[in-house]
């Protein structure tokens, strides 16, 4: 008896089915222009209780400073890089900001307990499914968009694609997959009790997308 690996591969090789034609690359062109993409994205996000606002490119920090304190959202988590610097420079007075600038292992409790919201950028958006595309990085680590009860995501209005297939076709990912890539389509939800939708189970309870024009 060989190794499990050899046995499994051996059985698979011994019974080779007839060749089938390889599938063509799936595309689903919709012919949507930029405004249509934005409108569809907003409709889909709203349908799953995602909040979406169109904000002028230089106004988003002011928008957050105005909107978050009344909601009791004061303890923010920022990463490193342009988004974090802009927010810290503009809004440090209104908020208690924590920087995600060292490894999580010795402050996991703080992240899970003492943060109200996080602010991150996004790689792109998908109009048809209402999805954010995230490539977490050293500057914006994976848990930022997951643990805080409110996630605020900045989306460049020029970075909306019709769907996932269109994005993969436009920006060849296969040779440069990051540690983790994500599609995020709304706040976390479940329907495990009586198939009834309930929001805010393990991930963020709320998601705010600011589309920057």
């Amino acid at each position: 008896m060989g190794s499990a690996r050899d046995n499994i591969l051996g059985r698979l090789r011994a019974n080779r089915p007839h060749a089938v034609p390889a599938p063509a690359v799936y595309t689903k062109p919709l012919g949507w222009d930029r405004e249509r993409c934005i409108a569809e994205f907003m409709t889909r996000m709203h349908a799953v209780r995602g909040e979406v606002h169109r904000v002028a490119r230089d106004d988003w920090t002011a928008w957050l400073s105005r909107e978050l304190p009344p909601r009791g959202m004061l303890r923010g988590l920022i990463g490193r890089g342009a988004v974090a610097e802009q927010f810290a420079a503009a809004a440090a007075d209104e908020f208690t900001l924590t920087r995600y600038d060292h490894a999580i292992d010795d402050w996991k409790d703080v992240l899970f307990r003492d943060i109200d919201f996080s602010v991150t950028g996004t790689l792109a958006g998908l109009a048809e499914s209402g999805s954010l595309v995230l490539w977490p990085s050293q500057d914006e680590p994976r848990l930022m968009s997951l643990v805080p009860p409110l996630h605020i995501a900045l989306l460049d209005a020029g970075r909306l694609f019709e769907n996932f297939a269109a994005l993969l076709a436009a920006e060849e990912w296969s040779a440069r997959m990051p540690t983790n890539a994500l599609l995020v389509s709304g706040p976390s939800k479940t329907a495990d009790i009586e198939q009834t939708l309930a929001y805010g189970i393990h991930g963020p309870k709320a998601l705010i997308v600011l589309i920057l024009d």
Binding site: A4, R5, N7, I8, L9, R11, L12, R13, N15, R16, P17, A19, V20, P21, A22, P23, Y26, R44, V48, H102, A103, D105, L111, F112, S129, G130, S131, Q138, P141, R142, L143, L146, V147, A165, L168, W173, S174, M177, P178, T179, N180, A181, L182, L183, V184, S185, S188, K189, T190, A191, D192, I193, E194, Q195, A198, Y199, G200, I201, H202, G203
Partner: protein, 473 residues
């Protein structure tokens, strides 16, 4: 008790549980309606099904090469790959990884393959604390029950039953039957577990060979937390889950989420290609993938039966099955219930063990019509029925082939065949059956359990037709 008697006993229990049947009826009606809103255009649906079928069929033909490529890419990316032929091997591998890492507590994302290996039970015996973190899985873990549906594991419970479970295990939380409040309670209970767990265990929806990427589909965020917060992540999946290219993923993802839950997409689609890299601040330091065979490679012996392995575990065939809706998932007694269970489990486990499942089908064809990867489920179930009573008792191409053949039944069918092949014999038979109709037995096995025995008419149709002037005598 043989497998058929045991199955009938479970069926009886399910059919007499009115609450259970109400829970299933209401849940499945809702899921069907949600799915149908996602496919307003049948032509688009059929094109997408064909694309998904081709992607999966292509992956199965190239499976050995793709598994090797997957292993090479994952290894290159820093993810360790393990192979297991049996559930015991898979459990041992996972237990050893946890022991070597000193991991005493595990949060689990949903994985049906781990149900195949009864992983939780094994790990608990090793003294490891295992917490199911998907809300449905968490509920049935409290109830100490297996999932009754592969996508919605607690579908058989209503809100009152969930409320009572929560109250029994967490008496400090005020009793409530409000679904939003129950959800918030689960959030609070499990957040502490996510923050403290040493390891996370998850399943895999698609494993991409081209890039060495593990894809997970979920709504709750527990899958992301299980695979991101602890320092160790172990994924377990069946060897058939591999696909060739990243570009194969969008059509599968679209048809999976629309079919399974009636959503255009789930909240999270999580693509994992590496453990934490130098300079990265979170994510597990080590990631392992366990590839489990558990009878799958045997299913390839036959081209027709190979279609079974195209399955992407969306559960749509289950949601549309008129038998499942009456019985629920537990009556099947196997890890996978419903039409896909009937097609898969006898092949995986053996007809001699669970072949009687094939009787739980009305051949209505609904499962085959909705399957997103076009598995011809009714055809497969019919084939397995025939194999179960095959004249030859063999272990290939199917374990337990011919094991359900009964000599009496076989003789009756042989007689029937002769009767219908020979007109004179047939006429003699109808003459006897009509004239001697009072001899019809009152008890006819399963048929007369709930119905009266049929009695032939006094005259055959042929005789009546001749009397009315039809036919040529």
């Amino acid at each position: 008790m043989n497998q058929t008697q045991a199955f009938h006993r479970r069926i009886d229990a399910a059919l007499h549980d009115d609450q259970l049947r109400r829970n299933f009826r209401s849940a499945l009606t809702g899921i069907q309606a949600k799915r149908e809103t996602q496919f307003p255009d049948d032509r688009q649906l059929q094109a997408l099904r064909e694309q998904a079928r081709m992607v999966r069929a292509n992956a199965l033909v190239k499976q050995p090469e793709l598994l090797e490529q997957l292993e090479a890419r994952l290894t290159g990316n820093g993810i360790q790959v393990h192979w297991a032929e049996t559930p015991q091997q898979a459990n041992t591998i996972i237990g050893d990884i946890l022991r070597a890492a000193g991991a005493r507590s595990v949060v689990k994302g949903k994985s049906m393959v781990s149900e195949e290996t009864e992983l939780n039970h094994y790990l608990e015996q090793l003294g490891v604390e295992v917490i199911e973190s998907d809300l449905g899985e968490f509920i049935i873990q409290l109830a100490q029950e297996p999932p009754s549906h592969i996508v919605a594991p607690a579908i058989h419970k209503n809100r009152r039953e969930v409320a009572e479970l929560f109250h029994r295990f967490y008496p400090d939380i005020p009793y409530t039957e409000d679904i939003d409040q129950l959800t918030q309670s689960a959030r609070l209970i499990l957040r502490e577990k996510f923050a403290a767990a040493d390891a996370g265990i998850s399943g895999v929806n698609f494993a991409v060979a081209e890039t060495g990427t593990l894809c997970l589909v979920e709504n709750e965020g527990n899958g992301r937390l299980s695979t991101t917060a602890p320092r160790l992540h172990i994924a377990i999946t069946g060897v058939e889950k591999v696909v060739e290219k990243l570009s194969d993923v969008p059509p599968l993802l679209e048809i999976l989420t629309k079919s399974a839950t009636g959503q255009p997409i789930t909240t999270y689609f999580n693509m994992i290609s590496r453990p934490r890299q130098p300079g990265e601040l979170d994510g597990p330091e080590a990631v392992h993938l366990v590839l489990l065979d558990n009878g799958r490679s045997r299913i390839r012996v036959d081209e027709e039966l190979l279609d079974t392995l195209r399955c992407i575990r969306c559960g749509t065939c289950i949601n549309y099955c008129p038998v499942y809706v009456q019985l629920g998932g537990h009556a099947y007694g196997t890890v996978y219930p419903g039409p896909i269970g009937i097609a898969l489990e006898p092949q995986r486990i053996g007809i001699d063990k669970v072949g009687t499942l094939t009787s739980a089908c009305t051949m209505c064809g609904a499962c085959g019509e909705v399957c997103p990867v076009k598995i011809p489920l009714p055809k497969l179930i019919n084939r397995l029925r025939a194999e179960a009573v095959n004249e030859q008792r063999t272990t290939t191409p199917l374990l337990g082939r011919g094991s359900l053949r009964k000599p009496g039944e076989a003789t009756i069918w042989k007689l029937w065949q002769q009767l219908y092949a020979h007109p004179r014999l047939y006429r003699l038979f109808t003459l006897a059956a009509t004239r001697l109709r009072w001899l019809t037995p009152r008890k006819l096995g399963g048929w007369t359990r709930y119905r009266s025995a049929p009695r032939p008419a006094p005259r055959s149709l042929r005789e009546l037709a001749i009397r009315e002037g039809f036919g040529h005598g």
